[in-house]
């Protein structure tokens, strides 16, 4: 098994940089998700790691070995495709055995590996079937099994769940994570679904315009985004511009915003005198009192089951909060508070 290390990776297509000077380290056994909107460069980055694209500049090391110019068939990686890419003319067993036969794994070892994967993915009833006789979820499991059976240093996933329905997606998501842990695989997972990224990953690389905007644990990424793009992309966030009034030695920052004066507590000093800040809608506390006491009129109400989404008109601007408190209706005026540590300081306003 081995980790991945990339330095100054760059991929240009006709002068356009799809990936721009990206560098990162992934530890052995770590599960990393590349998350970002369409066109942010996540699939390009994955294709460079798998060897299907040769970077314009930079290096990639797998398990300490420089593989920048190594073709995919010679890399110790296995890629799970979005379309599954099963060989339609081969049975499930033949699909699973394909890579092992290519690598000339001895028959006894081949059988042992096959049994382990077939057992883990519950594929034994389907071994003699052709891919077109399987459901989407079963095909996905075969694609996963075909990659796992290779026992690669690194397993790569290119939006493998995007063709599955929501229920099946949840099941397979858990399955992938369990197997990745059981086999101790280093995994790179590409998705544009932030819920999937947060649920599965040890770390998430949020990408924008060919660069990694922030790489962090899901908890930190959600709780401490560094930029308004990350704050907005990961979950819902109220992002607003703020004037920094004072900063004291304890990390308390006095801000002037369109919502009114706010007090933020931050371990990182503000990036400038005019910055962006954000807070999560679910952080609004309708019962408490505190330094950040705000009020607004409910302009829109949407019941979501386990919470209610409220859009508020507050002063010259608007915001969004989520509450479990029933009975609030459109037109009501409500008061809520935010703890200083729930207000996150973001980048400076250009």
């Amino acid at each position: 098994m081995g980790g991945i290390s990339a330095h100054d990776l760059r991929m240009e297509f006709d002068g356009f940089a799809a990936v721009a000077d990206v560098g990162f380290e992934v530890a052995t056994g770590e599960f990393i998700t590349l998350l970002g909107p369409s066109g942010c460069g996540k699939t390009t980055l994955l294709r460079m790691i798998s060897g299907f694209l040769a970077p314009t500049a930079g290096t990639i090391h797998l398990a300490g070995e420089d593989v920048t110019r190594t073709p995919p068939e010679k890399r110790d990686t296995a890629l799970c495709f979005q379309s599954y890419a099963l060989f339609p003319h081969l049975t499930v067993r033949e699909n699973l055995e394909f890579g092992l036969r290519q690598k000339r794994v001895p028959p006894a070892d081949r059988e042992t590996r096959l049994e382990a994967v077939v057992g883990a993915l519950d594929l034994s009833p389907h071994l003699a079937k052709l891919p077109n006789q399987l459901s989407g979820g079963q095909q996905q499991r075969v694609a996963l099994g075909r990659a796992l059976v290779m026992r690669p240093s690194v397993i790569l996933f290119d939006e493998p769940l995007s063709n599955l329905d929501a229920r099946l997606r949840d099941q397979v998501r858990i399955e992938i994570r369990r197997i990745q842990r059981d086999f101790g695989l280093t995994a790179i997972y590409v998705t544009h679904d932030q819920a999937e990224a947060l649920a599965m990953s040890d770390r998430v690389f949020v990408m924008k315009g060919g660069r990694i905007e922030q790489s962090d644990t899901p908890e930190r990424l959600y709780g401490r985004p560094r930029t308004s793009f990350v704050a907005d992309f990961i979950g819902n966030a109220n992002v607003l511009e703020a004037e920094v009034r004072t900063v004291d030695g304890n990390g308390l920052v006095q801000l002037d915003t369109a919502l009114g004066p706010l007090l933020a507590a931050s371990t990182i000093p503000p990036q400038g005198s005019r910055i962006r800040v954000c807070w999560r809608p679910e952080d609004a506390d309708l019962a408490a009192t505190g330094p950040n006491l705000l009020s607004g009129r409910v302009t829109h109400r949407a019941f979501q089951g386990h919470f209610t989404d409220l859009h508020l008109e507050t002063g010259a601007t608007g915001c969004r909060i989520q509450t479990k408190q029933p009975g609030i209706q459109e037109g009501d005026t409500i008061t809520f508070s935010l703890k200083p540590e729930q207000i996150v300081l973001l980048e400076a306003v250009a």
């Binding site: 798998s50 299907f52 073709p71 995919p72 068939e73 010679k74 990686t77 296995a78 890629l79 495709f81 979005q82 379309s83 599954y84 890419a85 099963l86 060989f87 339609p88 003319h89 081969l90 033949e94 055995e97 394909f98 890579g99 036969r101 290519q102 690598k103 075909r146 290779m150």
Partner: protein
């Protein structure tokens, strides 16, 4: 499907397919009947095995069968062999690929006789090739390339004429294979040849079979290329059939014709089975 539906489908097919089957059926029936002495145009009609017995004894007949099968099989395989790499190369569009594809398919529009005469101009004793080789100092003097004993000229002509047809069939089949499937094979360790052997060939086997069969039948029954560019010491089955017919020996011509049809059917079955059998052990 119910009997009623079958009859309905049959009724729909009858105006088109029915006429073809009827006309071919009549021709086949008359040829078979004439090979057994019936429908005799130049004598008494009556069932007889005499024409078959005499024909099977003639060396010229067995040589014509061997020669025609040689031309048919080799032309079919060479056409497919050259068409595959081109089809894979042209699988993804690139600047100029459309023009290259069109140029490669041009021989489809050239009539066989015209092609044969063009070829003769190239390989003739004072033709372009001879002059070029002498000009380059590779050959001391002109060589006789026309009507060569091994029918290489005919094979070249057949392959040149039929390769575009194979290309047409194979390009469509190769283009239907998704990039991801080929990438998956590569990702699992398959190099270029293994990707062809284990993925591309099995997934395009139907197109390959169609190309092999259609080219084989055409080349097996070749007349024009053989007459113009073929060896003078042997005849193709079509040439032999015309020879007998020209001499008024309709029954002998019918025996050769029926043999040609029989070999075409048998050869087609074998050529259809061969790729499937070869690709059966596709994973190993």
């Amino acid at each position: 499907m119910t009997l009623r539906k079958w009859l309905f489908v049959l009724a729909l097919l009858t105006p088109g397919l029915g006429l073809i089957v009827a006309f071919i059926g009549v021709a086949v029936y008359i040829a078979i009947a004439q090979s057994f002495g019936l429908y005799n145009l130049s004598g008494e009609s009556g069932f007889s095995l005499e024409f078959w017995v005499k024909m099977l004894d003639r060396k010229v007949f067995s040589r014509a069968i061997a020669y025609s099968v040689y031309i048919g099989v080799l032309s079919a395989f060479l056409s497919v062999l050259f068409a595959y790499p081109l089809a894979i190369w042209l699988r993804k569009p690139f600047p100029g690929s459309l023009t290259i594809g069109a140029m490669l398919k041009a021989p489809l529009l050239v009539h066989g006789l015209v092609a044969a005469f063009l070829f003769i101009n190239v390989i003739a004793y004072h033709g372009v090739l001879n002059q070029l080789m002498q000009g380059l100092g590779i050959w001391d003097g002109p060589k006789r390339l026309q009507n060569d004993r091994n029918a290489i000229g005919v094979i070249v002509l057949q392959t040149w004429k039929n390769m575009p047809f194979a290309l047409l069939l194979l390009t469509g089949a190769v283009q239907a294979i998704s990039d991801d499937v080929l990438h998956a094979a590569r990702d699992l360790g398959a190099g270029g040849f293994d990707r062809f052997r284990k993925v591309i060939a099995p997934l395009t086997v139907s197109a390959m079979q169609a190309a092999l069969i259609i080219i084989f039948i055409g080349a097996l029954a070749d007349f024009s290329f053989q007459v113009i560019a073929g060896p003078t010491n042997r005849q193709s089955l079509a040439q032999l059939m015309v020879f007998y017919k020209s001499g008024g020996r309709w029954n002998d011509a019918a025996v050769v014709g029926v043999t040609l049809m029989g070999i075409a059917i048998l050869g087609s079955v074998l050529l259809a089975a061969l790729p499937r059998m070869t690709l059966r052990g596709r994973v190993a």
